[in-house]
Amino acid sequence: GSSEQPPAAPSGAGQPVTGEVTVFAAASLTETFTQLGKDFEAANPGAKVKFNFGGSSALAQQINQGAPADVFASASPANMKQVAETGTVTFVKNKLQIAVGKGNPHKMASLADVLKPEIKLALCAEQVPCGAAAKKAFEVAKLTPKPVTLEQDVKATLTKVKLGEVDAALVYETDVSAAAKDVDGVDFPEAAQAVNDYPIVTLPKARNASGGKAFMDFILSDKGRQVLTKAGFDTP
Amino acid sequence: MTLQATLNVHIGSFVLTADVEVEPGTTLALLGPNGAGKSTALRALAGLRPLSSGMIELGGRLVDAPEKGVFVPPEQRSVGVVFQDYLLFGHMSAVDNVAFGLRARGMRKREANAAAAEWLDRVGLAAQARHRPRQLSGGQAQRVALARALAIQPDLLLLDEPLAALDAATRIQIRAQLRKHLDAYEGATVLVTHDPLDAMVLADRLLVVENGSVVQAGSPAEIAKRPRTDYIAALVGLNLYRGTADGVSIKLDDGGVLTTAHRIDGPVFVTFPPTAVSLHKTRPEGSPRNTWLAEVAGIEQHADTVRVRLTGTPDLLADVTTAAVAELRLTSGQQVWVTVKATETHAYPI
């Protein structure tokens, strides 16, 4: 992405943010948060944002083992719960789509189409958020999927579609739009009930609590929403 | 299986050049000081080190000729080798080591093992058949290596000091057996040894190598008669005859009779060292069994002793001191009595 607007004025009460802000964020936020981090630093000249991107569960584990984090942005509420019960805010939502090969060769239009016997289907494993969402979608549609694989994350699932190993996969809209040159997305109505929330929190043991709070506010600000929406996230 | 070779091997700064020719059924001995290139020659013949130039022909078949781009690998040469440091396979028992070559040639396991056990028995190691090489003493290992090379009945047999590690008693026994096998055997044999006696007993021809070059070649008798270097002179201090034994009396093929201390029968070699010869002006009385009249054919001064060449029945060489030459007033053409004690002679079956 790029920032076509001049940096916004410092948010909040106007008190300047200084020092290093350490942000633990889900790997799927790498692109947007890196951008937002730069914008935040531009807006707060005394501040430096340090990111640790990784799997939400690994980040939760690290925080529980005493990792020095100020802010945690998780891709799943379940992992957030391992770290913090209170103070969490959902800052984006992500909706499922059916990812199909470019040009939709099998002419898929609904969730039922992915169950056709000649279709190879990839889903995320139930243990990861996109798998949980997919499970919910099939429950709502009262269908029983027969996937060939249950992938460890949404990117791996999408890779299978891109390389033509499977004919369809249930992934997030953001992922489809990021890979738009290789795959097409098909919307389906049950997706509305199968949405994944991304929670964010300023950690109680933060070293730089004020900085963390300021960064979280920046994410929740209009500027933040703008960058996230552009990447395909829905905002609550 | 005639072996005919013109060897030319370069290793670093060391160069070996030698013409080797061995008729079927005969044995060539390579003699030479340490580092002369004897093992190198054997490696080239075995195909373990390709020639730099020259050629090797075995039974009319060219097996190495760099100029013509011919190189037959060792496993297709039918060459049996006893290595100087044995190279027994550590993970196999003695009998499996001996059976290895037979099995590699396609013999069934049971038969190969039976044949191998027989070979081990012949070298006196029947009791050690199941031992691993590291459980064998040095001499036992050497004998297993010998049995392993003999078992495959190769066209060309290469022996790198096959008797060096054997004790005195075993050595005589294995030497005699080796002689028997070499005679029974139709291929050519090349033998490296330091022991002139081994060479005399086992070989039909000698090739003396020094510093990578052949300094002398010929039959043991020829070489003994005209040593061309000090090394050879020191080496070949033996009178050697072929004859037919009947008890302790041996009728020599070229005339004359010698008496030996040990009873033996049939065709034999008899040897005694020139130092064992006593010369007398008058016919002596006493214990020496062998006494005959001979004529002085030549006198050569060596470092400390005088070598006297004598013609008679048989011809012989004698080493005596300068003082003895003076006292006997030895000159060419003079007649002297020769005595050799029976106990000084060694007779070996051919």
């Binding site: 033509g164 | 039918s78 060459v79 590699a104």
Partner: protein
């Protein structure tokens, strides 16, 4: 019998013990903190048993493939003078450096449905490796083979080639000499390489999930089960890992001393 040379130099023992502690302590940490109460529940699930069985079968099959292909390869690198050997040796080593997930992608590019070879395998023989147990074996073999090849090549280079020469003079073809002299001589090296290879295959995750996918009963091996458990319940992931460790300890202890110990 008394030990032949009982005194062992401290200057070697100290780093040896530090090294051992460094490897053992983290495992002790895992054992201490593991929620053992959940173990029984975990083991009771059919999926864990199945994943364990699949892991052992696939790692063993992958090791067998690696032995069949990798030992000759190591021999070629160590003993022949073929041109391009240097480059071949480097190419054998680099897959180690490839992040396994990328390795999995690379395998898909070759053996996948639209892969360089895979499209023909599919069209001509109807064979499709991804999402099958065979795919797991292929992925594990790809990742683990370099370990075997490098260990065996090292052993071959340390072995005296003159024993092969002796075998040749006894009429053994290079193949016979290899089989009956070289192989037994480097047996400890092959054993060490196989252990490395098997262990690496048993722990393999990234290439497997990328190339073969993850489906219980056909492609879900223990590491995949562990990874997914980590996503939800780190404690049970720890327990699963320890189960995998315990099984592999039992197998290695019973196999390895019998196997490697022959030279000791």
């Amino acid at each position: 019998m008394r030990a032949v040379r009982a005194r062992v130099p401290v200057v070697l023992l100290i780093p040896a013990f530090i090294g051992l502690a460094f490897l053992v302590l983290p495992m002790v940490g895992l054992v201490i903190r593991a929620p053992w109460s959940t173990l029984v529940d975990q083991l009771a699930t059919a999926e864990v048993g199945e994943a364990l069985r699949l892991s052992l079968i696939c790692a063993t099959s992958a090791t067998a493939i690696c032995l069949v292909l990798g030992v000759p390869l190591a021999w070629m690198l160590a003993r022949t003078e073929l041109p391009g050997r240097r480059v071949a040796r480097a190419f054998v080593t680099v897959p180690l450096v490839l992040p396994p997930v990328v390795g999995g992608v690379a395998l898909l590019l070759v053996f996948g449905r639209r892969g360089v070879l895979g499209q023909y395998l599919d069209a001509w023989f109807g064979i499709s490796l991804p999402f099958t147990t065979a795919g797991v074996v292929v992925a594990e073999a790809f990742v683990a083979m370099p370990f075997l090849v490098i260990a065996v090549e090292g052993a071959l280079r340390g072995a005296d080639p003159r024993f092969e020469e002796a075998a040749a003079t006894l009429g053994a073809s290079r193949w016979t000499a290899f089989r009956r002299v070289t192989l037994p001589t480097v047996a400890p090296g092959i054993a060490a390489g196989s252990v490395l290879c098997w262990a690496r295959a048993l722990g393999e995750f990234g290439a497997t999930i990328t190339f073969a996918g993850n489906y219980p009963g056909t492609t879900q091996t223990m590491p995949l089960a562990v990874y997914l458990a980590l996503e939800q319940d780190p404690d049970s992931a720890t327990v699963l890992s320890l189960v995998l460790l315990a099984v592999s300890i039992v197998i290695l202890v019973s196999l390895r001393d019998r196997w490697i110990g022959t030279r000791a």
